[in-house]
């Protein structure tokens, strides 16, 4: 059964969904996010424009000017101020959304922690873009990966459709009383933000009904229940508050699954923490996140036609990190590659590689060998041939070939690129093993 058939059946089984309100429209990622925001209509949008997410703010401003949103837009002087205004408005009990990218997110850094530490369910769209320097402007996950420990829930969208769906779900997830945490919805710069796609847009009333009204638990503007926000924590309280944050993040796992399932039931597009593709009988697989998952799935389709047992696992969330779901999918495979669109200088591999490898440690006796392929930095194109090469390397790895590099860049000129192991001083055991393998 194809995906479309599945979703149609789902709608037929649920006559309550107001399908007459749905329409298929051609929208770019930015436009789809702005339309989702129009339908949710948050109270406040503090914003500062930055490529490639400028169009989100621009379109929201247009909707407000045309009377299609009641939202209050606060045009501030920087991203630091945008997030500060978001924190202030959210502490005042408002539902708040904003959008930024790359250096803009980096400039918000300090206040990201204040938003999450204060349990303010702000929704922030990120048009993923490489950080300067060198100034670049094209897609990679460097900025959002850098902020993965800022206490925000993080979604990575594969398509314009998913970016739209994620924004709507983000409000429900972040505002859930079990969670109360801010949510980032990432969509790859230009690849999604500026690419137009046919998407199904739900009706305005359907979205309003799904998201529901927002009641802040603690509002500075509620005279019947006066509270103080942003107090100082002595050493005798700080750890207790961090534990509280952790509990919200752990609860988010089930809330994301619940909301994703309900979304599927109502609108025909269910979501979970991970998105396995052809994983049931796969022998080798690629783990990836973001828009290039579509390319990997396409290559998987082609290789399946040729009888190769390959699969793809897309991570929809990075925080909370879906370790259990990943382990469940990976055990029994013969070799796995983790593809990162970001890198961590001086670390042993890029962020997702580190975390997947760490998740597999408790299962190290039965875990497949895993390698890291770093691709697409600063918008570098990933080619189908690159993906096929990685699957070929995985085949070699599955056959016990010790010369397959562990950590390597893909798409660097003058291939094969030196591996991380080769670049180490010669006397370290890892480098020696790599040299011996050659």
């Amino acid at each position: 059964m194809t995906k479309t058939q599945k979703s149609k059946d789902n709608l037929i089984q649920n006559p309550k969904s107001k399908i007459q309100n749905r329409k298929v429209v051609i929208l770019s990622g930015n436009n789809a996010v702005a339309n989702a925001l129009r339908q949710v209509d948050p109270h406040v949008y503090p914003g500062y424009p930055i490529t490639p997410s400028t169009k989100i703010m621009e379109t929201v401003a247009e909707f407000i000017a045309n009377g299609k949103m009641q939202c209050e837009m606060v045009a501030v002087e920087s991203e630091h101020s945008a997030m500060s205004a978001a924190v202030g408005a959210a502490a005042g009990g408002a539902r708040v959304a904003s959008a930024t990218a790359a250096n803009g997110l980096a400039f918000m850094w300090e206040v990201l922690y204040i938003a999450s530490g204060s349990h303010l369910p702000i929704v922030l769209a990120i048009g993923n873009r490489a950080l300067s320097a060198p100034i670049n402007g094209f897609a990679d996950h460097g900025e959002s990966m850098g902020s993965r420990d800022a206490g925000w829930i993080q979604f990575y969208s594969e398509s314009v459709q998913e970016a739209y769906d994620n924004i709507i779900q983000a409000f429900r997830i972040g505002e859930d009383s079990r969670v109360r945490l801010p949510v980032m919805v990432c969509l790859d710069g230009f690849l999604l933000t500026h690419t137009s796609e046919n998407i199904t847009m739900q009706g305005d009333d359907e979205v309003t009904d799904f998201v529901g009204p927002y009641h802040a638990e603690f509002s500075l503007l509620d005279p019947d229940k006066p509270v103080s926000h942003g107090l100082s924590d002595p050493p005798s309280y700080y750890m207790e508050h961090k534990m509280r944050q952790q509990a919200g993040m752990e609860k988010a796992r089930e809330v994301i699954e619940e909301v994703g399932a309900e979304y599927g039931k109502r609108f025909g597009r269910p979501y979970g923490l991970v998105d396995p593709y052809c994983m049931d009988d796969a022998e080798t697989a690629i783990i990836i996140l973001g828009s290039e998952a579509g390319r990997v799935k396409g290559v998987v389709d082609k290789m399946r036609e040729a009888g190769k047992k390959v699969g793809a696992l897309r991570l929809r969330t990075v925080r909370p990190f879906p370790d259990e779901q990943i382990v469940r999918q990976l055990l029994g495979l013969k070799a796995v590659a983790i593809m990162d669109r970001s890198y961590a200088p001086g670390a042993v591999g890029a962020p997702m590689f580190q975390e997947v490898r760490s998740a597999l440690y408790d299962y190290r006796d039965s875990a497949p060998p895993i390698v890291n392929r770093i691709y697409g930095l600063g918008g570098r194109e990933l080619r189908n041939a690159d993906v096929r090469n990685i699957f070929a390397e995985l085949d070699a790895l599955a056959d016990g070939d010790a010369t397959v590099p562990v950590i390597q860049m893909v798409g660097l000129r003058g291939e094969p690129a030196p591996t991380w192991e080769e670049m180490r001083p010669l006397e370290t055991p890892i480098a020696v093993a790599a040299k011996r393998g050659k």
């Binding site: 349990h119 303010l120 006066p226 509270v227 534990m243 509280r244 944050q245 509990a247």
Partner: protein, 109 residues
Amino acid sequence: MSSLAPDVPANGLPIWDELPPGGVSEDAGSTSRRTMGFWRGGGQRPLIDLNLCVQCLHCWVSCPDACFILEDGQVTCINYDHCKGCGICANECPPMVNAIVLVEERRFG
């Protein structure tokens, strides 16, 4: 085997899931019950001369710690339990009036 982490005595403080999330205090204004005037330390103390005061209330509206006590809409005195000696009141008092002066704390012994 369960955790061997030693128990940390609560000493009457709330444990983590008893606290409102995000460092929120439901006891708004609790600071008024604490005397923080000692923060002035060896700094300056504002003195107000009510004979000169024209009751413009600039000091009252600009004091960050709400230290100016009003009775029937008139400034009557300064609450030194909360005054940190920032001097904003003396600065805001109109130059032609100059009813507030800052005096070094050590002169009060």
